[in-house]
């Protein structure tokens, strides 16, 4: 490099989208539900509850009901293609599977979303050995070409034993390097079937299955200044920016105390228009959750909010994090790990509306060498 850059080092790009609408907006009511439904792999949920020194039983039950997930060790990918499995689990409920201990930018990894697609991310060597049709990954280094994405649709009519496409896929997926430890969870459409039948199925095939429950951690802050969100109440014309709201929610989840005045150490202060609220409880649940669990949790929280008075509980927030190493984030959009592998969304629930924040990493490909400075 003739003239290397020594002054400007831009930070990696990431995307933050924000929208706000009322609960019963007929056209747009689809938006927050779409955000929840498309986000297949939910790893952690953080809920901020004002004025709750002790979480009531109705809420704490909704955190732990039906939330168990299973860790299946050394599962080969060909098991997800067997017709018994597809008929018993994929078509009769919502099945989620995600590799738990691989990294998307260096290892091979795989995941299965509830719509029946198997997403596999492999390196060049394995891709050439598998000989299945795939595309170059859009966000990792494109030169040298190294990461390939293979998507297999198990819903197709040609995906049955006896057809040549099926035989080719199952023989390729029997590759010895395609064995991973998966987190598996299943929610049946029919309420009579027990969700643990998926664990029994894998156990009968001879794999090691461990049942795991969500890990719950609570922390309470005593006197907290919650920012005021209603526009007609702010009389000095200071509107709260959405990024500042998200920063405030982050401070509460991490246990950071905000002072009234800026000091030499920290310039982040309390919001200008605020309500003093006591006992803000931050509940952190770590596990592997289905989208139905999140939908029912949001419904429970909404009804809880309507029971409490608007002065002690002005609003509450729910943040749902995806796994930092999952191959897909929303729908089939590829997920990239830049500095932190963020893919999460936050819903700020008010009585009359909801604010939705979505954060995900940029999908631009990484550069091996920075752009040359052409003496400009």
């Amino acid at each position: 490099m003739l003239n290397p850059e020594v002054i400007k080092f831009p930070a990696p790009k990431s995307q933050l989208t924000y929208t706000h609408h009322t609960w019963d907006d007929p056209k747009r009511n689809v938006t927050w539900q779409r955000v929840i439904k498309d986000h297949s792999f939910n790893r952690k949920v953080v809920v901020l509850l004002p004025d709750t020194p002790i979480v009531p039983n109705s809420l704490s039950d909704s955190f732990t009901d039906d939330a168990q997930h299973y860790l299946v060790k050394n599962l080969p990918l060909a098991e997800f293609c067997s017709p018994n499995f597809l008929q018993a689990f994929r078509q009769k409920g919502h099945f989620h599977a995600l590799c738990c201990d691989t990294r998307i930018d260096v290892d091979n990894t795989a995941a299965m979303t509830p719509d029946g697609y198997l997403h596999i991310l492999v390196d060049k060597f394995t891709y050439q050995e598998l000989q299945l049709h795939g595309t170059l990954s859009s966000h990792i280094l494109r030169k040298p070409q190294d990461r390939y994405v293979i998507k297999i649709n198990t819903n197709e009519k040609t995906f049955r034993p006896g057809k040549s496409y099926y035989e080719r896929v199952t023989s390729a997926l029997g590759h010895p390097r395609l064995k991973f430890n998966f987190w598996v969870t299943w929610k049946p459409k029919n309420g009579d079937i027990c969700p643990s039948s998926v664990a029994k199925y894998f156990h009968d095939l001879g794999f090691v299955v461990e049942e795991q429950f969500p890990d719950i951690y609570k922390s309470i802050a005593s006197e907290v200044a919650m920012p005021r969100l209603d526009k007609n109440q702010t009389d000095d014309g200071e509107d709260l920016e959405p990024e500042d709201l998200l920063e405030w929610i982050g401070c509460q989840s991490l246990g950071i105390r905000l002072e009234t005045d800026p000091s030499s150490m920290c310039e982040l202060v309390r919001p200008k228009a605020y309500d003093l609220v006591s006992n803000v409880n931050a509940v952190h649940c770590t596990g592997f959750f289905t989208t139905e669990y999140i939908v029912s949790l949001v419904g429970t929280l909404r009804s809880w909010l309507l029971e409490r008075s608007p002065i002690s509980v002005p609003w509450l927030s729910v943040t749902v994090y995806g796994h930092p190493d999952s191959p897909v984030s929303w729908g089939h959009q590829e997920h990239s790990y830049r500095s932190n592998g963020d893919n999460f969304y936050t819903l700020v629930l008010q009585r009359d509306g909801v604010h939705v924040f979505k954060v995900f990493g940029s999908t631009q490909p990484l550069r091996m060498y920075p752009k040359a400075n052409n003496n400009k």
Binding site: K8, F9, P10, A11, S14, Q15, L16, T17, Y18, T19, T31, R43, K44, V46, C100, D101, T102, R103, P242, E243, L246, E247, I249, G250, C251, S253, L254, G255, I256, S264, M265, C266, E267, L268, H284, T286, T319, Y321, H323, P324, D325, Y337, S339, N340, G341, D342, F344, T346, K358, V359
Partner: protein, 117 residues
């Protein structure tokens, strides 16, 4: 859906040092002085005057949460990676800074960490 740009980057840094080497205990203000000193050594005085906030310092675990403007993120992270020691009260104490999580959104520092670090 509105696209928003975050103005700040947040880092969660772990400080690894021997407590018996220190003449007195570290507080959050001292941590800011020490980190600004590290940036000063690598990038000079102009970069060290840029705003840096210490949001939280946990003395027992040695975890610091910092907030820097977007354009300084790369410099702060680079300076912390190569810094060998901190100067506290005329004593040079060796320290290792490990950036555990860094993101443009503070809320993601509360999220799940990578399974293999």
């Amino acid at each position: 859906m509105k696209q928003l740009e975050s103005k700040y980057w947040y880092l969660k840094v772990h400080m690894d040092y021997e407590r018996k080497n220190l003449p007195f205990q570290l507080t959050a203000e001292l941590v800011k002085v020490v980190i600004v000193g590290a940036i000063d050594i690598m990038f000079g005085e102009l970069s060290s005057c840029l705003p840096l906030d210490v949001l939280k310092f946990n003395e027992k675990t040695g975890i610091v949460i910092l907030r820097v403007p977007k354009d300084n993120y790369a410099k702060v992270r680079a300076a912390l990676t190569v810094c060998p020691s901190m100067r506290v009260g005329a004593v040079d104490v060796p320290v290792i800074y490990t950036t555990q999580q860094a993101s443009s959104c503070l809320l993601s520092l509360a999220g799940p960490e990578r399974s293999i670090v």
